[in-house]
Subunit: 405 residues, 2 copies
């Protein structure tokens, strides 16, 4: 097998959210027990933008962009300067950081685009990169693609409730061992937990002390539930010299179809990211960039209502999972992910996920996408129709009962 | 300097089309002679989508995509299957190749996205890659980014008129020397010349014989002028085992603001490209994908009229350049680029380009972006307002006279 073949074999996407349609399910019959459970399909692999629609006015802003014409179709690679100026102020207000729009901010095709550019511009072959387990699967895949070496840092989110549960001594060990980059999501994807103020302060101090580049993916930081608090690393009194913060309106604001994200932070990394974006995709879609004019400027009360509705679903699903014998789950503090650990089953986790889709019309993402150790966990994005989600978790409960050891 | 610093230093974008706004022009005063020439700005660095508007119905198709909602926002990473089915038939009709929509076609964010994925999935560190001089600047930059080794193959477009002028013995030498990949644009960007049927047949045969992967960027192949013929490599009787063809509606169809491209060809490379797209940008913008439903299905006569209007501009500008003492130029057979070689000037080519912008309000791209040997050439995209383009070339002629040796 050539190096390239091996690299792309590891970059498997068969179990990635949304790719289930490409699986060959011919071998499934030998695994299933009992009858199928009827019910409306719920695809927990991503949020349902029909249940939670895009921010009001988004399409109108896109159409405005089309009418602006060439100036909006062909922006600087890092994005339209007027839009960056507006966003720099709003993101500064939200995070508490100071952001120079001309030097420290880039618009990207989705926050995935930002994450790709951030890792590509900071990681060389052989570089050690600290990765949380569990965390967003693309972090690991991107480091592997650029031939970096992953140094795992564990997060025991189930054993903690006042912090995310990151093992900070493991993190320092990784830095001592020469990790050049630390990439993590906050709130954590898949567990939905938020790093405490103390954890963020220590991460910032350690990274500064050891000269580690930090990439923090804050994609879900706006969807923060009542009585929770959030600490922005970029606004800490001590921050690492190389720090990139990633956000985007694809999730809470349901704007994924427009492919928009942003990264802000250290100017020389943003510069590199722009140079790379020039040969990867040129720029975030020009007309789509116009949609960002409405970001952090939603109608009064809109975001509060969106959070309230998600919190109600969260609470019902947490109750439902907690009632299933043998399930361990922590209530998410932000975002729309649940990451229950299931009891031991007679099937491998990946096979249970396939059975669940075929017998219960319920799509979830296997935990092993997020950590090699999360063999009993599955991820659900609960940004769904409320009643359909409850029914779907009832069907899950039935199948967990049917397949447990 | 670290390896990463060096890599991104080489990935310079300061002279790239559209990035002029980021240049520091403080040193310009010492270079300029005489007075500025008044006139409407013409930005020849890219096509003017206000002068040549997007295909009729494009925005309406986008809006339809938004109304389809979640199903269109979250397609497979390689793009919506129904849209791929339609396009596979149309691209097959256009090129003469047989394209399996499920296995051999991927939708990407712009044709730039397709080019990035194609090179990233076929080029490893140390691999030799044959690159035409001159050719699209991203070809070279992408190979450098993936630490490939460039093997230049020269194309003497000025000395030929029945063929593009590729040095086929140099190409075979490159293949003999172990080149793994050959990437080229047809029609050539920047020179606008089309490879002859014989050139394409020989390229296909040589690549097949030496086991070389071929990536052919056919972005401008629809904008073919009267009495010209075009040969699709993918429809040759003998083709290399690994072949990717890239197209997109960003240029002729003026849809750049929607960021759409396609790649089709060898299924295992398309598979890799999808896996990589999953961590680079997830997918071409979901709603934008809907716009592709109108591609190769434009209103009757629309494409013919677009070609006729471009041909009229081409002919006027060719006449204008041919009248300038010391300019060498070849009439483009397809696309909307001119690549005149200017007489020797008292300024470096990059400085003349800056002076031209400041004194004449005319933006062109320096030839050295396309070949290290094209120090006297500049590229113009003449998809512009016809009269404004003529006036701009008159101002260029005045400044060429003013600055020539």
């Amino acid at each position: 097998m050539t190096a390239l073949e091996n690299k792309f074999r590891k970059l498997a996407t068969d179990n990635a959210p949304g790719q289930e349609v490409r699986q060959n399910d011919s071998s499934l019959a030998s695994l299933t027990l009992g009858e199928a459970l009827p019910g409306i399909q719920v695809d927990f692999s991503h949020g349902d933008v029909d249940a939670f629609e895009p921010t009001p006015g988004s399409l109108e802003r896109f159409v405005e962009g089309v009418h602006i014409g060439g100036k909006r179709a062909y922006t600087e690679y890092r994005g339209d300067s007027q839009i960056r100026e507006k966003l720099a102020v709003r993101l500064g207000d939200f995070t508490g950081a100071s952001i120079a729009s001309h030097q420290q901010l880039i618009l990207t095709p989705g926050s995935q685009g930002a994450l790709f550019l951030a890792i590509a511009t900071t990681t060389s072959a052989g570089d050690k990169v600290a990765i949380v387990q569990p965390d967003y699967f693309a972090n690991r895949k991107l480091v592997e693609f650029f031939d970096g070496e992953i140094v795992p840092v564990s997060m025991d989110y189930l054993a903690n409730d006042k912090s995310a549960g990151l093992d900070l001594s493991q993190l320092e060990d990784a830095f001592k061992a020469g990790a050049k980059v630390f990439v993590f999501s906050n709130p954590n994807n898949p567990a939905g937990v938020v790093y405490s103020a103390e954890e963020i302060a220590i991460i910032a101090q350690l990274a500064e002390r050891y000269g580690v580049t930090v990439i923090v993916d804050q994609l879900y930081s706006r969807l923060l539930y009542s009585n929770e608090s959030y600490t922005h690393l970029c606004a800490q009194p001590v921050i690492p010299e190389n720090l990139i913060t990633i956000m985007g309106p694809s999730k809470t604001e349901s704007l994924s179809g427009y492919r928009l994200g942003v990264a802000f932070g250290s100017a020389h990394i943003i510069n590199r990211m722009e140079k790379l974006q020039a040969i990867v995709s040129l720029r975030a879609g020009g007309y789509s960039q116009s949609v960002l004019q409405g970001w952090f400027s939603e109608p009064a009360g809109w975001m509060e209502e969106r959070i309230r509705l998600h919190q109600a679903i969260r609470d019902d699903l947490i109750n439902a999972f907690s009632a299933i014998d043998g399930v361990a789950i922590r209530c998410p503090q932000a975002g729309s992910y649940l990451f229950p650990r299931l009891p031991e089953l007679r099937l491998r986790s990946e096979d249970f996920v396939r059975v669940l889709r075929h017998q219960a019309n319920v799509i979830v993402t296997p935990g092993t996408e997020f950590s090699p150790h999360a063999t009993q966990s599955v991820r659900l994005n609960f940004s769904q129709d409320h009643q359909a989600a409850i029914k779907a978790v009832e069907r899950m409960a039935t199948l967990i009962g049917r397949y447990r050891k």
